[in-house]
């Protein structure tokens, strides 16, 4: 395929963002039309990538490589494998839905949409990177739009705190990751940033064990691994809706993906040694995150902590280093991205209308916004791992993987499922059912565009849950590639 589809996918949002910044200030419709159109186009391209990926062949595909800084063997090098193609698709759909549900942003829409598009380029770039420098570059690129969007458009009470906390946490994580990256490239004597070469470099065991925690935990901060998870709920809650969707849906997967790509795939021996610690921390994520979600009274914090809990499952799957666990993690990254984007979009819709996120002050909203309520219920069922939805087919293999390495992890982590069911059913009932409070009588239904974006996300989760074969063969091919590097069963 000669058409550089990945480059188009990555840079269309960037170009759209730059274009939006050039618009005259008084044109309020132009930015959002441009952004939604660009996001739709990106989404379409990610679908094309997904559909055209040749599973039988496996490995990296749609590769493009152009020298960038040859002196350090840095190039612009993109390609996707069975793990990253679904993530690319997930980023595409979340970017589109995030743009669509932000249609009514009226405060400085130019900058809002431009920054959202920059964020899109950043995450797409990470997923498609086959060059370590470039991966890191895109990874860090996200910081500016994230910080600015939270501070400017975030929820007034906590936005400074949330943005600052998020940025500092991620910055510290990045420092560690950068140290690890530099060690991998220079200290090892590999002297290349090409991931394909680094994968086969065969670093010696002691080296891998020493540097693994730097890259893995450095990147895993963005995946909110315990105990450096607390930026996530604060950041998600402070952010405006579209950014919460991108943060929890896609950015957390960026962290997990980078930890996998750079940590586990480059330093498999290190992963083997450190896996027990990751398992332990991730298990805490699952149970502790769910418990904290259970006691929240702020609608958005419930979902914020649920993300912490669910990302724990992703990292449990990573740390099993076996076929089932990694397969489950791959599916869970996709499933959770879609699910939590839907969660945050509904939370945003509720907040926009009710002007409060305090659960005791909500109630009966099913009568006013049934489509949003149904979407939230579906996301809730995915969240509690209900069979028939994408969460189940993702979590089931993760647990099977955990059984093979550490049964105790499976036994403890499964409690997270029950606690999740508890807080989801409670929050559904308190927000959407019961009596409608008089001060919510004026609440209007969601717009058609909202319904379309929620519909896309809902259909994805159900389709995947009923027909897992839509995705698992691809992820399986990616897992096989990883297993070949890791050398495990």
């Amino acid at each position: 395929m000669n058409f550089p589809i990945l480059s188009f996918t990555i840079f269309i949002p960037l170009l759209a963002g730059l274009l939006i910044l050039c618009y005259p200030r008084d044109r309020v419709t132009w930015p959002r039309v441009t952004a939604v159109a660009a996001a739709a186009l990106t989404f379409l391209l990610t679908i094309l990538v997904y559909v055209n990926y040749d599973i039988a062949q496996g490995g990296y595909q749609f590769i493009e490589k152009v020298p960038w800084m040859p002196i350090w063997d840095i190039s612009y090098h993109v390609g996707v494998d069975g793990i990253s193609a679904p993530l690319l698709l997930m980023a595409g759909v979340v970017l589109f839905c995030g743009s669509a549900v932000s249609w009514n942003v009226s405060d400085r829409p130019r900058e809002f949409y431009a920054f959202l598009m920059f964020l899109g380029t950043s995450v797409l770039g990470v997923f498609a990177s086959l060059d370590l420098f470039q991966l890191f570059f895109f990874f860090e690129l996200a910081i500016f739009p994230k910080y600015l969007m939270i501070v400017i458009w975030g929820s007034p009470k906590t936005r400074e705190y949330g943005a600052m906390k998020l940025t500092l946490y991620l910055f510290i994580g990045s420092v560690f990751a950068l140290i690890g990256v530099l060690a991998i490239v220079f200290l090892s004597g590999a002297n290349t940033f090409d991931l394909l070469l680094l994968e086969k470099a065969g670093f010696d065991t002691a080296f891998q064990q020493l540097w693994f925690p730097f890259v893995f935990f450095g990147f895993a901060v963005l995946a909110a691994i315990f105990p450096v998870h607390s930026w996530a709920p604060d950041g998600h809650v402070a952010a405006p809706t579209a950014v919460s969707m991108m943060l929890a849906g896609v950015e957390m997967k960026v962290g997990a993906f980078a930890a996998l790509r750079v940590g586990i795939m480059l330093l498999p021996e290190g992963a083997r040694v450190w896996a027990p610690l990751i398992l332990a921390l991730a298990t805490i994520n699952v149970v502790y995150g769910a418990l904290i979600a259970l006691v929240q009274t702020d609608f958005k914090y419930v979902i914020g902590f649920s993300s912490v809990s669910h990302m724990g499952l992703v990292m449990i799957g990573f740390a099993t280093l076996n076929r089932d666990g990694l397969l489950g993690s791959g599916l869970q990254m996709f499933s959770h991205g879609v699910m939590t984007a839907l969660f945050f979009s509904v939370v945003g819709m509720v907040y926009d209308r009710a002007h409060t996120r305090d659960i005791p002050q909500l109630g009966g909203l099913f009568q006013k916004m049934p489509a949003a309520a149904v979407a939230f219920i579906v996301a809730g069922l995915v969240s509690m791992g209900m069979p028939g939805f994408s969460g189940f087919i993702a979590e089931f293999p993760i647990f099977m993987g955990a059984w093979q390495v550490a049964p105790i992890v499976a036994i403890i982590a499964v409690l997270g499922v029950l606690i999740t069911a508890g807080y989801i059913f409670l929050v559904i009932r308190r927000v959407f059912f019961g009596d409608l409070r008089p001060e919510l009588a004026h609440v209007s239904d969601v717009s058609l565009l909202d319904k379309i974006s929620m519909g896309i996300l809902v259909v994805l989760m159900i389709a995947l849950g009923v027909f897992p074969s839509l995705m698992y063969p691809m992820i399986q091919s990616g897992v096989n590639y990883i297993l070949a590097l890791v050398g495990g069963a």
Binding site: L327, F396, P397, V414, P468
Partner: protein
């Protein structure tokens, strides 16, 4: 025809789902929605009769099987099939469903959502009976909870929030162990296919699993299964969700809960626990028998102590399902003998009979509640003179529930007792005493509702059962009588399956 007959079970299973999706597209006219749902729910029933006609009684193994790849990455497939144990349960489900929908014609609010959930519930329940893949079994096992939760939480009575959450968390909590044990079996065996597992898993008895002796691991997995199913049955002392859920659920919801959902637990024992864990089942059969006897006795006592009519009927379910558990326990102890076969026959037939009588009783409670808006037994009294037809039907159904000879309940309870007597004499004897209390609470209920001095409050305010309501109860009454007089048509199928399967 081929695409219908070749996938008969799939049609039975998914017709309700398809019907539910079509329902969403229909205009919001109450009459249309009700009649559409009723007709849609009759289709699986008709197809079940077709399956019944095509079923070869006496042929070993599963029939009408279908298998398709589903989630091959972890070796789970879409595999369905029936034998003489599951087919009666499928018939029970598809029979009760149209009746429950007919009983729901009195539901006034949000009819479309209500009917939608009911149809989804049907697929969930049928899937459990039809699944021949452990993972598929779990999928349907869990998925049925969701519509039932919303049915109780949205259309239930005063205390519905508490009851629905308790129901769903209790059952999901119980399923956690099942989930883990299923994963464990999948990891160890490399397959979830039940016919394969029946061959491989019980024979696995040497070596270590996960660093523990195989026996220990299997015992733990056994208890994980048992607890999940025991909660669903429910076996004393895991029953406390039941009175709340049954009492708060809307009438049709209670009918299905008691009629079908409780059978899922018992079916789990029969289909999974006994075949997969024959050794462990044998070892722990005594405990199970004790719990069954406890359920019979305590269920009856608790029922006797109620003044809420619906709660009384709810506790009666614990009492009656105790016989199913007792039969299963006896069979587990002496699996392969004639006593075991008799006890299992009784247990399966009791499942069917209790499905009929409990659904009937809950419906009749609903009928009187709709007229009086109270379930308080002390506020009824002497109603027989006002509504004699209702009175007659109630007495008949209550007698069926009580186990009067000539009606279905007698046959199945007799078989259970006959099979269990030589095995667990003490537990069976205690259960017989429990049966005495069954008579006591049923007669108490009948007395307080129908007899004694008339509560003048109701004179002139109590219309007789209408044609629709009679149409709901008629098939149940007829079947109770038919099974009581001539059980062979059903028992023959069950018996051959039980003998071949165990």
């Amino acid at each position: 025809m081929d695409f219908l007959m070749g996938h008969l079970l799939s049609w039975i299973l998914f017709l309700p789902t398809i019907a539910a999706l079509v329902l969403l597209l229909l205009p919001d006219r109450p009459g249309l929605l009700r009649w559409y749902t009723l007709v849609a729910s009759l289709l699986p029933f008709v197809l079940t009769l077709v399956a019944w006609a095509n079923f070869q009684t006496g042929q070993p193994g599963f029939q009408l099987e279908e298998q398709a790849t589903w989630y091959s990455a972890i070796n789970a497939s879409y595999h369905v099939g029936v034998d003489g144990i599951s087919l009666p349960m499928v018939l029970l489900t598809t029979l009760l469903m149209p009746l429950a929908i007919l009983a729901s014609f009195s539901v006034k609010e949000r009819i479309k959502t209500y009917m939608f959930l009911f149809l989804l519930l049907e697929t969930g329940m049928l899937g459990v009976f039809l699944a021949l893949d452990l993972m598929l079994f779990f999928v349907f096992w869990e998925i049925g909870l969701v519509p039932m939760y919303f049915l109780i939480a949205q259309w239930g009575s005063a205390n519905r929030n508490y009851a629905s959450l308790k129901f769903v968390l209790y059952t999901m909590g119980g399923s956690l162990g099942l989930l883990l044990a299923i994963q464990l079996i999948g990891v160890v065996s490399g397959t979830f296919d039940l016919p394969l597992l029946f061959e491989r898993w019980p024979g696995l008895d040497s070596g270590t699993l996960l660093g523990l002796p195989v026996g220990t691991v299997k015992s733990i997995a056994f208890w994980a299964f048992v607890i999940a199913f025991a909660i669903k049955v429910p076996v004393w002392p895991f029953h406390t969700w039941l009175p709340d859920a049954h009492t708060e659920a809307p009438t049709a919801g209670s009918m299905i809960l008691a009629g079908v959902l409780l059978k899922l637990g018992a079916y789990g024992f029969l289909r999974l626990v006994l075949p997969l864990y024959p050794v462990e089942s044998h070892n722990f059969a005594g405990w199970l028998a004790a719990l069954g006897a406890a359920a019979i006795i305590f269920g009856a006592w608790s029922a006797y102590g109620q003044t809420d009519f619906k709660r009384l009927v709810a506790y009666s379910s614990i009492n009656h399902m105790g016989f199913v558990v007792l039969g299963i326990a006896a069979a587990a102890w002496v699996l392969g003998t004639q006593d075991a076969a008799i006890a299992l026959n009784g247990a399966v037939l009791q499942m069917f009979n209790h499905g009929l009588s409990a659904a009937g009783m809950f419906f009749l409670v609903g009928v009187i509640y709709e007229r009086t808006h109270t379930r308080d037994l002390t506020r009824y009294g002497g109603l027989f003179s006002l509504i004699p037809i209702y009175g007659g039907v109630l007495i008949f159904t209550a007698m069926g529930s009580l186990g009067l000879p000539g009606l279905g309940g007698f046959v199945s309870e007799f078989l259970v007792v006959r099979g269990a007597w030589p095995v667990f004499t003490l537990a069976t004897a205690l259960s017989m005493i429990g049966l005495f209390f069954t008579g006591a609470y049923i007669l108490k209920a009948l007395k307080m509702v129908l007899h004694g001095p008339l509560n003048e409050q109701w004179r002139g305010h109590l219309p007789e059962m209408n044609a629709r309501e009679l149409l709901v109860i008629a098939p149940l009454v007829v079947l109770m009588l038919v099974i009581g007089l001539w059980p062979a048509w059903l028992l023959d199928m069950i018996n051959r399956a039980v003998v071949m399967f165990f």
